[in-house]
């Protein structure tokens, strides 16, 4: 994958909350890059600092040290070429706007004609399988449909990179399978780069072209596993492939190692309300 031109480069990324003896290290040191058009999954145990990492990558949180560059430009705020889909679909969609208005909102910041906006809204809603939901309100839809709307909003934005933070953690298993196929389909059709963060090992192997395994906090990358499964994936046949089973076993073992390896004093650091319970530094 190193032959591909990199779109996202993360080097020496480190994030410490607070300072002094009470400081909590969420991210130890992260180095990786993602090539244009890749679909990379980042998988890590819960409490690995995945959300902290994503907030840094999406420019919502300043790292303590290290750099993040998107398409060569350092990320210091939310970058224009990126769209983010969060786990909390119910809270990231605005309940006072219709589905179409939600999808259109980010486009209002871009210079484009009203007709072009309407076209993008319609085509993205069609792409996520909700061609008739435009005039409804998000709260009139099921959880899975709401997450489809959030995905439609992201792809209508025409990002170069689509970042997804455990987007399917809160939906039921069947909906989840459908949404996974939707993401793979969109990735193949639109040629957009996808960075997909999850705690679900099967999901990471099923979706990704490459899986990065994160250690528990303070996070670092433990392993990088290329997924050499056929490009056309199917919930039944792909998951039954011997190679799929091997890969998930490999990821699973790495994560088990991550859990049992203590990288720093892990003596009951203060619980953080974010997704992580990072260890105390020092």
């Amino acid at each position: 994958m190193s032959t591909v031109e990199p779109i996202l480069e993360v080097s020496g990324l480190r994030k410490v909350y607070g300072s002094g003896p009470g400081a909590v290290e969420a991210i130890g040191s992260l180095d990786f890059s993602i090539g244009r058009g890749e679909l990379v999954c980042i998988v890590g145990p819960s409490g690995a600092g995945k959300t902290t990492f994503l907030r840094c990558v999406s420019g919502l949180l300043a790292p303590t040290s290290g750099t993040i560059a998107l398409e060569g430009a350092p990320v210091s705020g939310p970058p224009p070429g990126m769209a983010v889909v969060l786990q909390e679909y119910g809270r990231s969609l605005y309940p006072w706007m219709t589905v179409a208005q939600n999808v259109e909102l980010p486009l209002l910041e871009k210079r484009m004609t009203r007709a072009r906006r309407a076209e993008l809204v319609t085509s993205s809603l069609v792409a996520v399988g909700l061609p008739h939901a435009g005039r409804q309100y998000p709260w009139q839809l099921s959880g899975g449909m709401q997450q489809r709307v959030a995905i439609a909003r992201a792809i209508a934005y025409e990002p170069h990179i689509l970042v997804m933070d455990e987007p399917f953690a809160a939906v039921d298993a069947q909906t989840r399978a459908e949404l996974e196929d939707l993401v793979r389909g969109l990735w193949q059709r639109l040629g957009v780069t996808v960075l997909f963060v999850t705690h679900d090992i099967d999901e990471s192997v099923y979706l990704g072209e490459r899986v990065l395994v994160l250690s528990s906090a303070p996070a670092c990358i433990l392993a990088e596993i290329p997924v050499d499964l056929p490009a056309a994936r199917d919930q039944l046949t792909t998951r039954a492939l011997p190679r799929f089973v091997e890969l998930r076993t490999e990821v699973y073992e790495r994560i088990q190692e991550a859990k049992h390896t203590s990288y720093s004093a892990d003596a009951g650091g203060p619980a953080r309300p974010a997704d992580a319970v990072p260890a105390v530094v020092g």
């Binding site: 420019g59 983010v84 969060l86 006072w96 909102l105 009139q140």
Partner: protein, 259 residues
């Protein structure tokens, strides 16, 4: 659905029957033991036609209502705009909140003599008094509403680089609307109180002015008629408010019902 209709019907019966019973009891007592101070409902209604419904509607009731509506609308607009700003900027909030707490701790009626000093006793005075008296609940609730915007909604706007102006109009304002409406409803009753008080202090017309005049002239059925009018205005204002609220925040009520 049937389960819900029966209590509803019961409530409507009570809502109509209880006031009728009270008025009937009043009528019976007032007829049995006539008192100058407690005229019977029939006497009040009879005096109504001669006074409040004859000329006074135009000369007194409408001017009162006009000042009430204008003063209240000013309070809502000023409260929402200032509240959006104070709620959005932390430093502004630190600077403004202590001052606001002091001003709103002052009982609103005492501002009447002060405002009179500056602008006299005309319509301006009454409108200003109504606006100053009723601005606080809207203002404070708007600040709270803006501060209470969901963290995920906020960072979504960040990550899509929504411009500051659109944040106010498309995100902060609608997000705070349910809370703003709570404040606006409180302000509504304060505005009505301030309307009456400003007219009782110093005025040449208006409902409050006439209630005091009738009382001084011992025209007590007429005085009671004015109080009835105030009650009717309060009820109608609340009904109109509820109606407006359902339109302005249809999404909010729809969302609550869908849960």
């Amino acid at each position: 659905m049937r389960r819900r209709t029966r209590p509803l019907r019961l409530r409507i019966v009570f809502a109509v029957a209880v006031p009728i019973a009270i008025v009937a009891a009043w009528q019976i007592v007032a007829t049995a033991r006539p008192s100058l101070y407690w005229p019977s409902p029939l006497m009040i209604v009879q005096s109504f036609g001669r006074t409040w419904l004859d000329g006074m509607i135009v000369q007194d009731v409408l001017p009162s209502l006009g000042r009430f509506v204008v003063g209240y609308l000013i309070a809502v607009v000023v409260g929402v705009v200032l509240g959006l700003l104070i709620g959005s900027f932390r430093r502004l909030r630190y600077a403004a909140e202590p001052v606001i707490d002091i001003f709103r701790a002052v009982p609103p009626p005492v501002i009447v003599p002060v405002v009179m000093l500056f602008v006299g006793i005309g319509d301006d005075m009454k409108i200003i008094v109504i606006a100053i008296g009723s601005v606080w609940p809207v203002l404070l609730n708007t600040v709270e509403g803006v501060r209470g915007i969901d963290e995920v909604q906020r960072s979504t706007a960040d990550s899509y680089r929504v411009s500051p102006w659109r944040r106010y109009v498309r995100i902060a304002l609608p997000a705070a609307t349910p809370q703003i409406l709570v404040g606006a409803r409180q302000s509504l009753s304060i505005a009505l109180i301030m309307m009456v008080i400003s007219e009782m202090f110093a005025a040449t017309n208006g409902i409050g002015f006439n209630i005091v005049q009738f009382q001084r002239l011992f025209a007590l059925p007429e005085m009671w008629g004015g109080i009835v009018i105030l009650g009717v205005i309060g009820v109608v204002a609340n009904v109109l408010f509820t109606f407006a609220e359902r339109r302005v925040a249809a999404w909010h009520f729809g969302m609550q019902e869908s849960r």
